[in-house]
């Protein structure tokens, strides 16, 4: 009975999992379209939006774009910066282009919005290099400029991942780019989900990248709560919130149980006594009882 119950539950769980999985995969195949959600950025004091809303998977066709659009007086100007990659200890070479819209807010701060990413397709040699990385369980490294307006800025931002974490169906990658204005602080690069350990050698079926990118700005720290007299008065209104009345049993069980035990004990003793009374010396017992009665009457008389 129990087994069947648990197995049914298990199957239910499996179904649930499968559906979740399907949902996850289906969500990965979203359109390439830009989401016009740039109002989220910058206005609320840099509060980062829900990551889900900014994950824009881009299934990228090979694209050749010219670098660095001319930025005019237009407050919202377009810009591009390149992603470079390296295999193990090799030199860095271009791997793709990020394009974004630079938004200048009224108080002078500049933020990036509408980040898009286009990945270059692996060349034959790059594919070979990547295969070698997979075989040697080595690092696949990427880098970004630390300033998007004047690349490479102060220094390149480097991030790396064990190459064996990337292959799934295709090569799945996930960027979290931490920004501060036009500066790139850090990029967290890796697979979108978990990476198995120990890492198994697995070649991707498709040699193309599925890229997910997230832009992250700093969160505001929660304010220290400030209590004044009014606040206390307001919600207290002079009376402490009374805890819900507990049942009689919940309150006094610790007294009731011993009491019950004592009563039971007494009852069993009384029963025993009643059994013993007739056969153990009845005479003396009654005598004593009479004497006691006599005393009692004596007291009463007085």
């Amino acid at each position: 009975m129990r087994i069947s119950f648990s197995s049914s539950l298990l199957s239910l769980f499996l179904v649930l999992n499968l559906s979740l999985f399907l949902a996850a995969t289906s969500s990965a195949f979203q359109s390439d379209e830009l989401l016009l959600d740039d109002e989220e950025f910058g206005i609320e004091g840099g509060r980062s939006p829900d990551p889900a809303s900014t994950i824009r998977p881009t299934y990228t066709p090979p694209s050749t774009r010219k670098r660095a659009f001319e930025s005019g007086s237009d407050p919202d100007s377009k810009l591009q910066f390149t992603l470079e990659h390296a295999f193990g200890d090799s030199e860095f070479s271009p791997a793709g282009t990020f394009s974004a819209r630079l938004k200048t807010s009224s108080h002078g701060g500049q933020t990036l919005t509408k980040l898009r990413f286009s990945r270059n397709v692996f060349s034959e040699t790059e594919r070979e290099n990547f295969k070698r990385l997979l075989e040697g369980d080595d690092f696949y490294r990427i880098r970004l400029p630390s300033n998007v307006l004047s690349p490479p800025g102060r220094e390149y931002i480097i991030s790396s991942v064990k190459a064996r974490c990337l292959p799934r169906e295709a090569l799945d990658e996930h960027f979290v780019i931490h920004m501060e204005g036009v500066n790139v602080l850090a990029v967290n690069y890796g697979s979108p989900g978990s990476c198995q350990y120990p890492r198994q050698l697995k070649l991707p079926t498709k040699w193309s990248f599925k890229s997910h990118t997230v832009l992250k700005n700093s969160e505001q720290a929660p304010r220290t709560p400030v209590f004044t007299d009014e606040v206390v008065g307001e919600n207290g209104e002079g009376e402490e919130l009374k805890p819900p009345e507990r049942s009689f049993w919940a309150k006094y069980w610790m007294y009731l149980i011993p009491l019950g035990l004592i009563v039971m004990n007494a009852v069993t003793q009384a029963m025993n006594m009643a059994e013993e009374q007739p056969n153990a010396q009845p005479g003396s017992q009654t005598q004593a009882a009479v004497a006691a009665r006599g005393q009692a009457t004596a007291v009463r008389r007085r």
């Binding site: 648990s6 539950l9 298990l10 769980f13 840099g46 200890d89 690092f139 490294r141 300033n147 102060r154 220094e155 390149y156 931002i157 480097i158 991030s159 790396s160 991942v161 064990k162 974490c165 996930h174 979290v176 931490h178 501060e180 500066n183 602080l185 850090a186 967290n188 890796g190 697979s191 979108p192 989900g193 978990s194 990476c195 198995q196 350990y197 120990p198 890492r199 992250k216 700093s218 969160e219 505001q220 720290a221 929660p222 304010r223 220290t224 709560p225 400030v226 209590f227 007299d229 206390v232 008065g233 919600n235 207290g236 209104e237 002079g238 402490e240 919130l241 805890p243 819900p244 003396s284």
Partner: protein, 985 residues
């Protein structure tokens, strides 16, 4: 208002009832804590022995302490610790009752009352150009009934009234860029001289009126060859300097506005010298000291600039300043080193052929060389002059020598602790003599009877004293063996002098001390200094007979790229097993979580060229390391550049000399903080030996939250570059504080948060899955403390019991940092009234006991704050269930409960660090706070729930049991009797 008061009272009641505040009763002080007071390495000493009932010596030290010591026993009469930036330049005694200190580069002058150390006055002397601070207190100069003090500092000469610190007059002397080197006041005259050099080629002499500060004369004379180094003033009108080559001595006479130079070649005075000479600072009238090669030469200036060599000694010796004796004589103390002893000679200033005193004193080799000598005289019983000298040793200890003996010694090296490690004591050997057991049994019984008396309140006052004595002198406390609860340990302490001390946790006594060979000055290592201590070998009680040992790291210079040194020291005996160096530089020290078969811990030292070197250098260690090579990562915060970099360890490095133990590293990730808006202010990581008891946290509503526990968490705080300065130097709009939680393997930023309008200094601790940090909120004008707790969402679905049963959970699967972590954080901030010098967290053996955050307050005390107050889930009105879970209603500030001061009434002056060591008893943690003072105690954050208190009355328990048994028997007999009577009736 009424409501508020009521609410407040309720809250107070709640805290009072709910808070397991750690506090003691008066008679418990000193039971499990000890406190030691030190002063540091003495720089100056002034004796005050004339006409004083209590003979004392006033000292100033390198820890910026001014103290008055009892000359008979070396105890501290009084002591003041000036701030770390308030360096004492000079001290002296004025009017016979004030101690005058000049500090902060000649800009703060203070007078302290000599008998009790109260500050009498303080004056700030303002100037513009930093210069060598000078203090001159003439013995009998009265201007308008005021005794004057002359101070030269920051380019100005000040005349200050010694009675109230008022500045009578001041005069700028450094306007032309002259470096004034000496103030001279010839006794009884109206003129004060200030002599100095301009650009090492011109000699300048000023004459000033002492009453008005009026500049009477200013003479100067060029010396084309140029001077090198400082002037040495020999008499009131003669000074000596060396020329720029260091070969020619120049005697300068500046009498009545006339300056003349007389040159003498050093080689004319002394034959066979090779190196350049250096004039050593000394204060012997008519004489100066010259250091050439390895010897020190005393040269006398006799009539009109003739020079004469008086004495010659080896250079590792120490000389005191001259002490004037009655009958116009001078005495100088000289100390020479012998084998395990020192030779003290006192010579008469004008006659160096004979000695006033010649004494040989046995000296502990572990004290090293004599660094400083101060001489004082007294009148012997036979009316002749006797001498006592105060010597400062290489290990910073202070000793008083008199009549060929060490009268007292102070271990003042312990005022400058760099690092602390705890070491277990040896296991108790079996076989204790019966007599001892009997004796101790008797003592034990007696003690308990006394205690019983105390409990039953029938003890006489004498008994009470005896009880207190027994408590304090518990023989168990100071034993040299391990105890059952793990309270007795050795604290291995590394001091700035390069000396290692082992302190017993029971009573704080020094078990052994050792001046490390690797940290002593040598030709290959000019400025050695210790960096840190690490556990090297920690044998398990069953595994090895070998003693545990510690590894001491040091550096030969002040930069991180100077050569490194290391030694291995046995912690039971203090013997230096091995010392290596100088070798490659040491930029980072990474203790690895692996040990070899000898239980030696593997260490990775990263040098300035980012080569990683493996220690110990054995094939076995190499084998272990090679196996784990792919999983070893390290990071470095480049504070000046604002970059955080992560590295991985790769193959062997390519060097000219093949080295199997050297590994290359490579860049794996980097985080570049924008230089215009962020600057690294603080970093913190988890303690490596912290134990976490449970990964899950069960909330009141039966939900499970999984803690994100990673050994690779790094907390980093940055502030706006403008806000690096002191609090108040920026407006709230200009300043912000950004905090990061970073995984150091992948460089992932797990959490990032901005506190607008806040600034440093930031102090932080990381423990389990939480971080507590302290900073200043400019908008609220208050200090704040924040907490961040990190929870793992990837494991959140594991709360299903069924899954646990079926084994589909992922709790036991290996974790890799390359998986994308699904974490969420909770955070909250509170106001906190104190500024904080240092922060630590309690550690217990199994991590079950709740935690306390230990704060080193600005008042040099240690405050224990329950972690429960820093819980981000606190709300204004917690539900009943939450209250039961132990959540405290939210308040805007953290309470400071007076009983929770760990240091109770004591102060740990100059507090610098707090070390916590878990005891074997789970409820208890050992706390060692160090600064100029040392303090040790035991803490039980959740009270000692797992043991009876020490003053538990076993006798009372025994008596109760016996009494009960007797009562049982008596009542039994009674009832038997009664029954018998009943039956007979």
């Amino acid at each position: 208002m009424n409501m508020a008061i009521r609410a407040f009272l309720l809250l107070l009641l709640f805290f009072a009832s709910s808070n397991p505040a750690y506090s003691l009763y008066e008679d418990q002080v000193g039971l499990m804590d000890w406190h030691q007071q030190y002063i540091g390495k003495v720089k100056h000493a002034v004796f005050h022995t004339q006409k004083a009932a209590r003979k004392r010596v006033i000292v100033s030290t390198e820890e910026n302490v001014v103290a008055s010591l009892d000359l008979r026993h070396g105890e501290i009469f009084w002591r003041h610790v000036l701030g770390p930036n308030d360096v004492i330049d000079q001290i002296d005694v004025a009017l016979g009752k004030y101690v005058i200190t000049l500090s902060s580069g000649g800009s703060v002058l203070r007078a302290w009352n000599l008998p009790d150390g109260q500050m009498v006055w303080e004056s700030t002397l303002i100037g513009s150009t930093p210069s060598k601070p000078l203090l001159l207190i003439p013995t009998n100069l009265k201007v308008d009934k005021d005794n004057l003090i002359f101070v030269y500092g920051n380019g100005f000469i000040h005349a200050v009234a010694s009675i109230d610190g008022e500045v009578i007059w001041k005069k700028e002397l450094a306007s032309e860029g002259i470096d004034v080197q000496q103030l001279i006041y010839p006794d009884g005259s109206e003129i004060i001289y200030a002599v100095g050099l301009l650009g090492f080629s011109r000699f300048d002499a000023y004459q000033l009126n002492v009453k008005s500060g009026e500049l009477l004369k200013h003479n100067n004379m060029l010396f084309p060859a140029g001077f090198s180094g400082d002037l040495s003033v020999v008499t009131d009108d003669t000074a000596v300097a060396l020329d720029s080559t260091g070969k020619i001595l120049v005697v300068i006479r500046f009498q009545d506005g006339k300056i003349s130079f007389h040159q003498t070649h050093v080689s004319q005075l002394i034959e066979d010298i090779s190196g350049a000479a250096v004039i050593l600072p000394s204060k012997i009238p008519g004489m100066f000291t010259l250091k050439i090669d390895a010897s020190v030469i005393f040269i006398e200036v006799i009539n009109e600039s003739k020079l004469k060599v008086v004495h010659k000694i080896g250079h590792a010796n120490a000389v005191s300043d001259a002490l004037s004796l009655p009958e116009d004589q001078q005495a100088v103390a000289l100390i020479q080193h012998g084998d395990g002893k020192i030779l003290l000679t006192v010579k008469l200033g004008n006659d160096w052929t004979s000695n006033l005193i010649e004494e040989t004193i046995q000296m502990d080799r572990q004290r090293g060389l004599v660094h400083k000598v101060f001489i004082n005289s007294y009148v012997r019983t036979d009316r002749s002059n006797g001498f006592r000298v105060l010597i400062v040793m290489e290990d910073h200890s202070l000793l008083l020598l008199q009549q060929g003996e060490i009268v007292w010694s102070r271990e003042d090296g312990l005022a400058s602790v760099i690092d602390v490690k705890a070491s277990e004591l040896s296991v108790e050997k079996d076989g204790v003599s019966v007599a001892k057991v009997e004796h101790s049994l008797f003592e034990w019984l007696k003690g308990h009877l006394l205690k019983l008396k105390g409990t039953l309140m029938i003890a006489t006052p004498d008994d009470v004293v005896a009880i207190q004595k027994i408590r304090l002198q518990s023989s168990e406390k100071g034993k040299m063996t391990r105890d059952h609860n793990g309270f007795r340990k050795l604290l291995i302490v590394l001091t700035r002098a390069g000396k290692l001390f082992a302190l017993h946790t029971g009573d704080g006594r020094i078990v052994w001390s050792r001046l490390l060979n690797s940290l002593r000055k040598s030709e290959t290592c000019e400025n050695p200094r210790g960096i840190s201590l690490h556990q090297w070998q920690d044998p398990h009680h069953h595994a090895l007979d070998e003693n545990p040992s510690v590894l001491v790291f040091g550096r030969c210079g002040y930069n991180s790229d100077s050569a490194g040194v290391l030694s291995i020291v046995d912690t039971y005996t203090g013997e230096e097993r091995n010392h290596i160096g100088p070798l490659h530089s040491i930029a980072h020290i990474i203790p690895l979580p692996f040990t070899d078969s000898m239980e030696q811990r593997l260490h990775l030292l990263v040098d300035a060229n980012r080569h990683a070197h493996l220690y110990p250098r054995t094939a076995e260690a190499l084998g272990i390391f090679q196996r784990e090579l792919g999983n070893i990562f390290w990071y470095a915060a480049e504070t000046d550049k604002g970059i955080l970099r992560g590295y991985g360890v790769q193959k062997n490095c390519v060097l000219e000399v093949a080295d199997d133990f050297c590994f290359d590293t490579r860049d794996l990730w980097s985080i570049v903080f924008p230089s215009e808006s962020e600057k690294i202010a603080a970093t913190a990581t988890r303690s490596l030996n912290e134990v976490v008891h449970t990964q899950a946290k069960v909330t009141a509503d039966q939900e499970v939250m999984y803690k994100y526990i990673s050994k690779n968490l790094l907390f980093l705080a940055t502030v706006a570059p403008k806000a690096i300065g002191p609090i108040g130097s920026v407006t709230p709009d200009e300043s912000s504080l950004v905090v990061y939680v970073i995984d150091t393997v992948t460089g992932r930023i797990l959490h990032r948060m901005t506190h607008h309008g806040s600034q440093g200094p930031v102090k932080a601790v990381v423990s389990e899955n939480w971080i507590v940090y302290h900073y200043f909120n400019l908008r609220a004008h208050r200090y704040e403390m924040s907490v961040i707790e990190i929870y793992d969402q990837a494991r959140a679905e594991n709360k299903d019991v069924l899954k646990l049963v079926l084994g589909t959970h992922n709790l036991t699967s290996p974790i890799t940092a390359y998986s994308r972590p699904e974490v969420f954080t909770k955070s909250q901030s509170y106001f906190f009234a104190h500024s904080v010098k240092t922060m630590a967290v309690t550690l217990t053996a199994k991590g079950i006991t709740s935690k306390q955050v230990l704060l080193g307050t600005i008042g040099d005390q240690v405050l224990a704050l329950d972690k429960r107050f820093l819980d981000p889930r606190r709300t204004v009105n917690p539900t009943q269930a939450e209250k039961e879970e132990g959540i405290i209603p939210l308040t805007d500030s953290l309470p400071i409960i007076p009983q929770s001061y760990v240091t109770h009434a004591l102060k740990v002056e100059g507090l610098r660090g707090i070390a916590t060591i878990p005891a074997k008893l789970e409820s208890t943690t050992l706390v060692f706070a160090y600064g100029v003072d040392l303090f040790f105690t035991r803490l039980a954050p959740s009270r000692t729930y797992d043991s009876l208190t020490e003053d538990f009355s076993y006798a009372l328990l025994l008596i109760t049991i016996v009494a009960l048994i007797v009562a049982i028997f008596v009542t039994w007999v009674w009832s038997e009797k009664k029954e018998l009577q009943e039956k007979w009736r």
